[in-house]
Amino acid sequence: MDKAERIALFQKWFSDAIPHNKALGLRVIGAGKGFASMQLEWREELVGNPETGVLAGGPLTAMLDGCCGMSVATMLKSPEPFATLDLRIDYVRPAEPGKAVIAEAECYHVTRSVAFTRAFAHHGDPKNPIAAAAGTFMLGTKGKATRPSVSAQVRTEEKK
């Protein structure tokens, strides 16, 4: 599976299959073991202050939550269900009107019950962030995973 096919699969599982992510128009632009990246296009209905055109905090919160969650999924050996336990967002500076926002999330540690993630949102330069996030996720929650095993996709890619 090449990179484009892998991203298309993650797009299907983590944006198209999740109604709110789909409504936001989240586009998966990167996926690897412990790594997820998504892009959100600026649009009028996501604005908090119509005089400045600055995005509201909410779309960034939802995007960072979704992106951190996808980074967790890339680390799991079997496709078990999980849920956000807590999420902290630091709003470093306002998003610039009209510009797309990119989120990059890293799942840096997984235990039997909890996965730890961090993420940044930026306009293309990760050194100049708009927002920073730290999220933890509870693993093995009720229900069933809404996707097949994604870590297998990531691992077969890395062996090549």
Partner: protein, 153 residues
């Protein structure tokens, strides 16, 4: 004066607090609006299919709960404090306590500590039973007008 603060002045006269949300495109899109029918300022996110994050349970997307808790804190600060600027969020920490079912979510906020420049707000969201919150949040807002700080929500 920002359109939102102008709207606030109108709303204080008319008492129709729900109109505050009309000045915020994102609040309209998310169907998040304040209400004060009970004498307490509450913020309601009306359920619609686009809020779903887990189609299997089904459950509301955690990001939307964080977003509505943030809006609840802003509406609370606008309505309950004598703010002369639109509060500017610095950070928010959301704790997810229960999965949120596909029905309306209601939130209430309270000021934990008000400083001269910074305010610390606690917000809590529930569905049918207020004693069983689905999520809580703590947030910091800058409330002093500051030439360096761009107007933002």
């Amino acid at each position: 004066m920002s359109a939102l603060l102008q709207r606030l002045a109108e709303v204080r006269k008319s008492g129709d607090v729900g109109k505050l949300a009309e000045a915020i495109p994102y609040a309209r899109w998310m169907r998040i609006a304040p209400e004060n029918g009970t004498g307490e300022l509450l913020t309601r996110m009306r359920f619609h299919d686009q809020l779903i994050g887990n189609t299997f349970l089904p459950a509301i997307h955690g990001g939307t709960l964080g977003a509505m808790l943030e809006m609840a804190a802003i509406f609370h600060l606008l309505w309950e404090t004598e703010t002369e600027t639109v509060p500017k969020i610095v950070n928010i920490t959301v704790d997810y306590l229960r999965s949120a079912r596909p029905v309306d979510v209601i939130a209430a906020a309270k000021v934990t500590k008000q400083g001269r420049r910074m305010v610390n707000v606690f917000a809590e969201a529930w569905q049918d039973d207020r004693s069983k919150p689905v999520a809580t949040a703590n947030a910091h807002f800058l409330i002093k007008s500051d030439a360096d700080a761009p107007p933002s929500l």
